[in-house]
Every structure is written in structure tokens, then in C-alpha cells.
């Protein structure tokens, strides 16, 4: 019990829920919703780690890592993360903080899938169907209903998500703490997290070779030859090439501009395509 941090209250969780609304405001290709996630967690982190500057810094850095999920479901992850950060502040010696990153990663991919089909695949389409049929007649109820159909579930889920996530996380961690299997949780979380990143490396990194071998009807696209051997081979190679470069001490800023210049050069000489 070294920390002077306090436990989160319902108000703190509500604050996370409100700040989660800005999740996508600084979306970018590199780490996507990372600043949005950090933005939502900041007041909670200030409270949990008040008086513990070092852990506070580490927590802030932790939440600037890659994050992307369906915004309406994001608060469930934030709730769980809040409970884990609290546990880390209570038992810094037992707790492995990489578990937090693993759990975040393991949840963001699946929830993105569920949330996208629920909100963008279903509610948005229903909303447009209902809204546009009224708006076509010039009826202002159209846009109004459109917003209502999408946003009532959107905001309800955000609120219940953060509460449920926090309770779920707290209960789980209590059980784990009492049975002394914290290491087990870390291991299980990293298995799950890495499998999800493995899948996402294939699904979210896109790189395609241009051109074909042979002529006329005999022509075979080079990309389809690569796909025949190992689909998404180039995507995973990119991830590990960059991983290796970062290990070698390349600055992420240089890698970022490197990728940009590489993209332009590849398009100029035409060996990659979109």
C-alpha cells in the first residue's frame, strides 16, 4: 500500500463516459484513436495516481498506444482499464502493466466488429431509411429522427458500458487477487492480445504489388501469386520490418516520414498499387 491514490467513484466513471465522446476527434492512420482514448482516461488517471508521478507518467504513455474500436462500445474497454489501473496503483509489485495493454488490444478488435455492424451496418442504415423518406418531402422531422435512431442507443451504451466494464473488471481482479493467480491473468491476456494483433495486422495493414507476369490471356497478377503463397504476407512483413527498425533505435518520426516517402516513390515507379 504505497499509493495515496483514491478509488474511482460513479462520477469519475461518468466523466470517462462524457470524455469518450471525443474519441475520434484526432483520428489518424498511425495510432488511430490513441489520443482520444488517453483524453477520456486522463482525469481518472490523475486521480488514481495522485501523488505517484512516475506511475502516472507510465500510465499516460501506455494509453497513447495504438487504439481503434467502435466508439459506442469504447467505454466498456475504458471501464475495465480503469479498474485495472486502480489495481496497479494498489498492488504495483504484483501487477504487470503489460496486462492492461493486452486486454485493451484483445477487446478493441472484437468490439470494433460488433459495434461497426450494429451501428454503421444497422442503425445508420435504418436511420437513413426512416430519415430520408421524411426529408425527401422537405420534412424537418427526417434529420431529427435520423439523429435520434442512431444516438439514443449510442449514448445509452456509452453510459452502461463504462459502468459494466468497471464492475466486471473490479470483480475479476478481486477474484484473481484473492486466489493469487495474477501471473496467470497476465499470461492469458497476452495470448489473447497477440492473437488479435496478429489478425489485425492482416486485416488493417494494406499493401499491394502492382503489375503482372506474362502477356495477354496468360498474364498473372504478381499480387495473386503472393496471395497464393501467403495472403497478407507483405502486411505482416511491414509490421515486422518496422518492429525491427524500432528495436534498432530508429525514431518513430523518421519511420513515419519514411513510409510516406516510400508510398510516393512506390506510386511513381508503379511497383505498388492502392
Amino acid at each position: 500500500m504505497t499509493s495515496s491514490g483514491k478509488a474511482l467513484t460513479k462520477d469519475d466513471l461518468t466523466k470517462i463516459c462524457i470524455r469518450s465522446c471525443a474519441l475520434e476527434a484526432s483520428w489518424n492512420f498511425e495510432r488511430q484513436q490513441h489520443m482520444g482514448f488517453a483524453f477520456a482516461m486522463m482525469p481518472a488517471l490523475e486521480k488514481i495516481y495522485s501523488g505517484n508521478e512516475e506511475e502516472k507518467q507510465k500510465a499516460a504513455q501506455r494509453h497513447l498506444e495504438f487504439f481503434n474500436t467502435a466508439p459506442p462500445l469504447s467505454t466498456f474497454i475504458m471501464g475495465i482499464v480503469a479498474s485495472m489501473e486502480e489495481e496497479n496503483a494498489k498492488n504495483p509489485d504484483d501487477f504487470d502493466t503489460s496486462t492492461i495493454t493486452s486486454i485493451k488490444t484483445a477487446l478493441m478488435g472484437p468490439l470494433a466488429g460488433i459495434g461497426d455492424s450494429m451501428f454503421w451496418g444497422t442503425l445508420l442504415v435504418i436511420g437513413i431509411g426512416v430519415g430520408a423518406s421524411l426529408a425527401k418531402e422537405g420534412n424537418i422531422l427526417g434529420p431529427f429522427l435520423f439523429l435520434l435512431i442512431f444516438n439514443v442507443p449510442n449514448f445509452l451504451l456509452r453510459y452502461f458500458g463504462v459502468m459494466q466494464g468497471y464492475n466486471f473488471g473490479t470483480k475479476l481482479l478481486e477474484n484473481i487477487e484473492s486466489s493469487g493467480v495474477m501471473k496467470t491473468l497476465t499470461h492469458a491476456a497476452s495470448i489473447l492480445g497477440l492473437m488479435v494483433i496478429g489478425g489485425m495486422s492482416g486485416s488493417m495493414v494494406s499493401i499491394k504489388v502492382a503489375g503482372s507476369i506474362g502477356q495477354g490471356d496468360e498474364a498473372t497478377k504478381i499480387q495473386s501469386i503472393i496471395d497464393g503463397i501467403l495472403p497478407n504476407l507483405l502486411s505482416v512483413l511491414c509490421v515486422f520490418l518496422i518492429y525491427w527498425m524500432l528495436k534498432k533505435g530508429f525514431k518513430t518520426t523518421y519511420v513515419l516520414f519514411g513510409i510516406f516517402i516510400f508510398g510516393i516513390i512506390a506510386a511513381f515507379f508503379g511497383f505498388l498499387t492502392t
Binding site: S102, G193, V205, V239, G263
Partner: protein, 260 residues
């Protein structure tokens, strides 16, 4: 001031404010069906605005952000489409042919800013996090929104409406295709950097194999990420159970009875 200039400024302001959508819960305020109401008010024909909004919304439907694949910019496209439709009075289809090249040009600008400028702001946030200045990290998030998502879009919509579609189309055509393609190629690769940074934290030798399993499940069997997570959870459960049993077995003999 002539009314064209006033309208251009008002449309710019509308754009700057309507992207608050992404600050207030990704609530779809910036979609054409909603923005057209305000465009109608600015252009002096509310009813026409609402009607055009419906038509444009249906034209843009399916334009959803999934992963790194990005649709043409529906915000500027929707606002300018409605504005042109009311200004020219020639119907939605004509308005769309005017608005689409502009939306395509802005998508290019937006991609460039999202690709290069936002990560620079993110690096400032990283430095503030290192120093423990959490409030400044939050400020960088808002700054990124204003400097990349809101202001450029507002200026672009205002200028485009004032200068007219032909001028913008000429600018779009003047940009070599390899630049446009290059930006898209870079945008496709960029998440690899995000994953690489994440892996720095998570990847260890003894768990590398699970990354490979996840990757292979997706690439060969086309299992969606949710499915991979279900396999992952089961696998984690099995492995952790086995390891606990093995650990207990080495300590005592009681496990043996259970096994036979």
C-alpha cells in the same frame, strides 16, 4: 459584401462547427442529411435544403469508415452538394457532379494532414506524457482536432464555394496521379507503425506463436477478428489450465488420481 462571399463565409463556419460531431460522440451530425438543414438556412431555402440532404445522403450511403479504408469526404461533399443544388437550381444530380471532384480533392488534403500533421501533434502528446503533464496531453488531442479536422475543412469549403467547382476540379487534375496514389499507399501501410509500437510492449519470445496463429486464422481461414478473439480466449483458458495443473502436479501427487 456580395451575397456569394457572405454565403461562402457562413458555409465555412458551418463546416468548422459541424465537425463537432467527432467531439460529441461520433453522433453523425456532420452527415449530409443533417448538415443540409443548416445549409438550407444559409442559402435561404430550408425546405429545398432538407430535400437535397435526403438525396445526397442516399448517394453517400455505404460511405463508412472501416479500418483504414476511407470514403470520399462526406462532410464537405454533403455541404457543398446541397449549397450548389440550391444555388444553381439544377437538381441533386448536377449538384453532385459539382461537389464530387471537390470532395475528392479535399479527401487528398485530409489524408495528407492526417498522415503527417496529426502524428506530429501526437508526438508532442507523447512528450507531455513522459513529463507527466496529463492536461497538456488532452490539449494536444483537441489541438489535433482543430488544426487538422476542423479548420482546413472549413477554409476549403468556403474557398471552394467562392471559387466554384471548375477551378477546384482544375486543381485536382493538376495533381499528378502518382502523388494521389502514393498518399493512399502510405495510408494503407501506416497502421503497421502503430502495430509495431504496440508489439514493442507485448511481444516476447514465448508468446510469439500466438501472433502467428492469429495472423494465419485471418489470412488463410478469413476468420473475423471476433472469431479470432473467441479462439484466443479458449486457447488462453486451455493453456493456463494446463500450466496450473502442471505446476500443481509437480508440487503434489493429488492430481494423478484425477487424471486416471
Amino acid at each position: 459584401m456580395d451575397s456569394l462571399l457572405v454565403q461562402a463565409i457562413l458555409l465555412g463556419l458551418l463546416t468548422a462547427f459541424i465537425v463537432i460531431d467527432w467531439m460529441t460522440g461520433t453522433n453523425n451530425l456532420s452527415r449530409p442529411i443533417v448538415s443540409s438543414v443548416f445549409v438550407g438556412l444559409i442559402m435561404g431555402d430550408l425546405k429545398m435544403g432538407i430535400m437535397m440532404g435526403a438525396t445526397l445522403e442516399l448517394a453517400f450511403i455505404g460511405a463508412i469508415t472501416i479500418g483504414a479504408a476511407r470514403p470520399p469526404d462526406t462532410v464537405s461533399g454533403g455541404i457543398l452538394g446541397t449549397a450548389f443544388a440550391i444555388a444553381t437550381g439544377k437538381g441533386a444530380e448536377f449538384a453532385l457532379t459539382l461537389a464530387f471532384p471537390i470532395a475528392a480533392l479535399f479527401l487528398l488534403v485530409d489524408n495528407l494532414l492526417t498522415l503527417l500533421v496529426l502524428p506530429m501533434i501526437a508526438r508532442k502528446a507523447d512528450r507531455y506524457a513522459e513529463k507527466g503533464e496529463l492536461k497538456n496531453v488532452s490539449k494536444m488531442h483537441v489541438l489535433g482536432f482543430v488544426l487538422v479536422k476542423s479548420l482546413p475543412r472549413a477554409l476549403f469549403v468556403g474557398f471552394s464555394f467562392y471559387l466554384g467547382s471548375p477551378v477546384m476540379e482544375r486543381i485536382l487534375n493538376a495533381i499528378p496521379t502518382f502523388v494521389q496514389d502514393g498518399i493512399n499507399i502510405a495510408a494503407g501501410i501506416m497502421p503497421a507503425l502503430g502495430f509495431a509500437i504496440l508489439l514493442q510492449m507485448l511481444l516476447k519470445k514465448d508468446v510469439f506463436v500466438y501472433f502467428v496463429i492469429g495472423f494465419a486464422l485471418f489470412s488463410y481461414l478469413h476468420v473475423p477478428i471476433l472469431g479470432i478473439a473467441i479462439f484466443g480466449a479458449c486457447l488462453a483458458y486451455i493453456i493456463v489450465n494446463m500450466e496450473t495443473k502442471a505446476a500443481m502436479g509437480s508440487r503434489g501427487e493429488e492430481m494423478v488420481e484425477d487424471d486416471f
